[in-house]
């Protein structure tokens, strides 16, 4: 009977949504914020591994002021696809055994100016 370790893992994308305004305000108020957030992200993979899950990859994005959207195949506009208070600022692709474990990872994921969304990756048979 296979135990948890042998069972196939599933992939989830953890999307980090944060308020860019709050980020900027905090960074302006205290020069330590950037380092604190970087430290949290550096600790994150170890914490994820301790849970029995794994980070496949992760990236931080430039702010939405650098975004360009293309709609309907050719209409190019300045700005993100949807203007929201909390914008996508980065992501981690992870492996977890089930949603509960993925949500544990999501709870650990640094996102002090917002939160994260956990989405299962689609599997094509």
């Amino acid at each position: 009977m296979p135990d948890d370790k042998e069972r196939a893992m599933a992939e989830y994308l953890i999307l980090i949504y944060e308020s860019e305004a709050d980020w900027a305000a905090a960074a302006a108020a205290s020069p330590d914020v950037y380092q604190r957030v970087m430290d949290a992200h550096n600790r994150f993979p170890g914490q994820v591994e301790a849970l029995g899950a794994k980070i496949v990859s992760g990236r931080a994005l430039q702010p939405t002021t650098t975004a360009t959207s293309v709609r309907g195949g050719d209409a190019v506009t300045d700005g993100p696809f949807a203007e929201t208070k909390e914008a996508l600022g980065g992501f981690y692709l992870i492996e977890a055994k089930d949603l509960d474990q993925a949500l544990e990872v999501g709870k650990l994921c640094p996102a002090e100016f917002g939160g994260v969304e956990v989405r299962p990756i689609m599997v094509f048979e």
């Binding site: 009977m1 296979p2 599933a10 055994k97 089930d98 949603l99 509960d100 299962p120 048979e125």
Partner: protein, 421 residues
């Protein structure tokens, strides 16, 4: 052997549907590894039972018979269809193969693991919206049809079907595990389950809209579920608390409306018609739960209901003790609705003026906007203070928010009473 009559068999199948559905589905889900497939096989098993039991008689243990039949159908389906087997979206531990025929499990549930708790916790997973949790619990744990659930919640059938389908898809696509939560997550996860059962009860008890105040089927299902949880997790104080709360509330159900359908307040109800057996059972459970220590919100609400149920009259109710319980409840459950309900014992202990100030403060809480019991509570306090004009306008406000006919009739009566002063 004389073959059993069709009626007898039909009744036995209906009874097994009510009593055993959750057990059969949960045990089949383990083999099928997919809720949809398990559901289909269980439905087929009930259809087969109707035929088979006419020929061979109703088995001693219908649940075991149905489980064995449903599991065989699931295993056959998985053998036939490799893609089904590759899918395995529901995360369950693989199960020992079913050996032998249905006879083996015919006489008891032995050898078939009781997975009903897994099923309940999966349906009430916090990653599902509350309304989806409720719908799934009724569909999968209670075996209600989508049509029945749609009627109970007064939404269209396609809406309810879509809600159930979406929730099942999420369970499989997001891999919501089919398991009982670990000890450290249990308090939160159990609270979600109890909330769903309580919501079922209150939806049945006070139909949010329409002509009848009580929809008995939902009330009965909620009681069944609470009893089932109590059987499966006998050491959880909050389950005892919830069951007690439902029993105590239900013991007074018959006296909640006048023969003409008007809502009767607690102080107007005929206490001699309360169900004393249910009250005694509820009180015993509350005492047990309180002794278990650190009472949670359901136990404290049950204790409040017990004090009301045991009071010889409204005037002779132990309001000081009630206020103490409300204070404790507000500690473990800082909800504005609890704070509003606390105004009632506050008015009895410290006077309506004092309570009114409290309610007026609460009116500023955004979470209570549109909550019909806020203006209704305010109106009642104003009425008791003899401030008739203000009371009438507060009742008007409550009336504009109430959808249930019995409640509307009550409020309209109060408005007329205020106007005549």
């Amino acid at each position: 052997m004389i073959p059993p009559s069709d009626d007898h068999v039909a009744n036995a199948v209906a009874d097994a549907h009510r009593r055993e559905w959750a057990f059969v589905l949960a045990a089949t889900a383990r083999v099928a590894s997919d809720i949809d497939l398990a559901e289909e096989c269980v439905q087929d098993a009930y259809v087969s039972a109707l035929e088979a039991w006419k020929r061979v008689g109703v088995p001693d243990n219908p649940g075991a018979w149905l489980t064995t039949a449903a599991r065989r159908k699931a295993i056959d389906a998985l053998r036939r269809d490799q893609t089904l087997r590759a899918k395995l979206p529901l995360l369950v531990e693989p199960v020992e193969p079913v050996v032998g025929g249905p006879d083996e499990a015919m006489n008891d549930h032995n050898g078939i693991p009781d997975d009903r708790l897994r099923l309940v916790f999966t349906c009430c997973h916090p990653a599902l919206a509350r309304e989806a949790q409720v719908a799934l619990t009724l569909r999968l744990v209670c075996g209600l049809t989508t049509t029945e659930i749609a009627q109970a919640f007064i939404v269209s059938e396609p809406t309810m079907a879509a809600r159930v389908t979406r929730a099942k898809k999420k369970i499989s696509a997001a891999r919501i595990a089919y398991r009982v939560p670990d000890q450290h997550e249990l308090p939160d996860r159990l609270d979600a389950v109890l909330t769903v059962v309580h919501l079922l009860y209150t939806t049945g008890h006070t139909a949010p809209s329409g002509a009848t105040l009580i929809r008995h089927d939902l009330v009965e299902r909620a009681l069944d579920l609470a009893r089932l949880l109590q059987t499966l997790m006998p050491d959880e104080g909050e389950i005892r608390g919830l069951l007690a709360l439902l029993l105590l509330t239900n013991a007074r159900a018959a006296t909640r409306t006048a023969p003409n359908g008007r809502l009767l307040l607690l102080e107007e109800q005929d206490r001699s018609r309360w169900d004393r057996n249910a009250i005694a059972a509820g009180v015993r459970l509350v005492l047990d739960a309180l002794h278990a220590g650190r009472p949670g919100r359901f136990t404290l609400q049950a204790a409040i209901a017990a004090l009301h149920a045991e009071a010889p009259s409204y005037a002779e109710t132990d309001w000081r003790q009630l206020l103490a319980l409300y204070d404790a409840l507000l500690q473990v459950w800082p909800s504005p609705v609890v704070a509003l309900n606390r105004a009632v014992p506050v008015a009895m202990v410290h006077g309506p003026e004092f309570a009114l100030a409290l309610v007026d403060d609460l009116a500023a809480d955004r979470r209570l906007h549109g909550y019909r019991y806020l203006p209704a509570t305010r109106a009642d306090l104003l009425r008791r203070l003899g401030r008739w004009t203000e009371a009438a306008s507060a009742y008007e406000q409550a009336l504009s928010l109430a959808e249930n006919d019995a409640e509307r009739a009550f409020l309209a009566g109060r408005i007329a009473e205020c106007a005549s002063r």
